[in-house]
């Protein structure tokens, strides 16, 4: 199967920045696109939930939160092998959390092949962003006398921008239902994929900027950034299978597990674990794992899914 054209936009951005072109997108555009993506994903999930939601979803949500927590601990254990506590904790938080754009690309991958996924995956996306950040901070502070500012942390986690937009979109989509959302679909549905293409152009530019930092971080970080998503995807696949999700839902959950945060986690860790080196986690998450998932990971996880669900 040929590459999804949205991935070509990512490569264009990557090329432009590596070749030191003066191409730059205005920061306001980046922020606008991410507000749009979050709302659109949320709305879509909400409409679908209104149609097919079942109480069983709540149990699944709890399982997924548990999954995010376990992945963070696992990542931390691996990272402690080579990194100090703060760096390992902050990086683990990135990998326990998720990347919205990677999720969107996987969803577009499914859509191209006409494969459906359960609507609650959007909910999983929303709830998997947060537990990792809490666990990361706990891991960094474990055994320290310094008291944690729990209130602030909880606030950041539950009321972070992406959480509010995703859950807000979900609720609006759920309340308004397919009929109510109809008149909004020229923007939130029809333009979803082309807007994603613009977003990926920007992601290419940003990824390239982090590739430079990779050299300074050494090969452990690169290996970690390549192997951990593979392992996490398998865990995600297994969990999806055990939870009884469809193949499409399994691919999305595997992608969520394999993906790593590059917005919410860096911002939260910079404040909560200042002694961690932000360049290190971001080089791994944005410089290695993000492009890997986009270019190779998603098709690979799909092959694994098909094999498992055959």
């Amino acid at each position: 199967m040929t590459l999804d054209p949205v991935v070509l936009f990512f490569l264009l951005g990557l090329f432009a920045a590596l070749a030191r072109s003066d191409l730059k997108l205005p920061p306001a555009l980046y922020e606008t696109l991410s507000v749009f993506l979050l709302l659109a994903i949320g709305l879509k999930g909400g409409v679908a939930l209104a149609k097919t939601g079942s109480p069983q979803v709540l149990l699944q949500v709890l399982l997924v939160i548990l999954l995010g927590t376990l992945l963070t601990l696992l990542a931390f254990a691996v990272l402690r092998w080579r990194l100090n506590r703060a760096d390992a904790a902050a990086t683990a938080a990135h990998y326990g959390s998720v990347s919205v754009v990677t999720f969107a690309v996987a969803a577009s991958f499914l859509a191209r092949q006409g494969i459906e996924a359960e609507p609650q995956l959007t909910l999983f996306l929303a709830v998997m962003e947060m537990p990792a950040l809490v666990v990361g901070v706990l891991l960094a502070r474990l055994g320290e006398r310094q008291q944690l500012r729990w209130g602030q942390l909880a606030h950041e986690v539950f009321l972070g921008k992406s959480m509010v937009l995703l859950l807000g979109g979900l609720v609006i989509g759920w309340l308004a239902g397919p009929a109510g959302i109809g008149s909004l679909s020229p923007l939130y549905v029809d333009l979803f994929k082309p807007v994603l293409s613009l977003f990926l152009l920007e992601m290419g530019l940003l990824t390239a900027a982090k590739l430079g930092g990779l050299r300074r971080q050494g090969s452990f970080v690169v290996l970690f950034g390549l192997l951990v998503p593979l392992g996490f995807a398998c865990i995600g696949l297994g969990s999806a299978y055990a939870m009884g999700l469809s193949a499409g839902g399994a691919l999305l959950l595997a992608t969520l597990c394999a993906s790593s945060s590059y917005i919410a986690a860096p911002a939260a860790m910079r404040i909560a674990v200042p002694e961690a080196n932000p360049a290190l986690s971001l080089a791994a998450s944005l410089g290695v794992t993000f492009p890997f998932n986009l270019l190779l990971g998603i098709p690979l996880y799909w092959m694994l899914t098909q094999w498992l669900y055959a």
Partner: protein, 100 residues
């Protein structure tokens, strides 16, 4: 027209610190502050400002020498070890001494 002698304290640091820093300034006795977006480079590398959380901010505070010292001391202890930050003080003359 007489200008009253005050200190102008300027801090350039990472954008993520805006909220905590502004809170601290008021606690340490500053009566006001001005923030603007910036980018730059230093010992922590280049801060390009391409992303909202990657840029720098520049914070200016006009205040008494004692307040300036208190703010500088707090920055040195709380932020300098872990964040990209510079801080400098200069002499300025202001219109209404009571405002600052």
């Amino acid at each position: 027209m007489t200008f009253h002698a005050k200190k102008l304290l300027t801090i350039v640091t990472e954008a993520v610190l805006e909220a905590p820093l502004v809170k601290v300034l008021q606690q340490l006795g500053a009566h006001g502050y001005t923030v603007s977006d910036a980018r730059g480079g230093g010992s922590h590398g280049v801060q390009g400002g391409g992303w909202s959380f990657e840029g720098n901010i520049r914070v200016d505070v006009v205040c008494d020498a004692a307040v300036a010292e208190a703010i500088a001391a707090h920055c040195q202890q709380a932020y300098l070890p872990h964040y990209g930050l510079i801080l400098y003080v200069s002499d300025v003359g202001v219109l209404r001494a009571d405002k600052f």
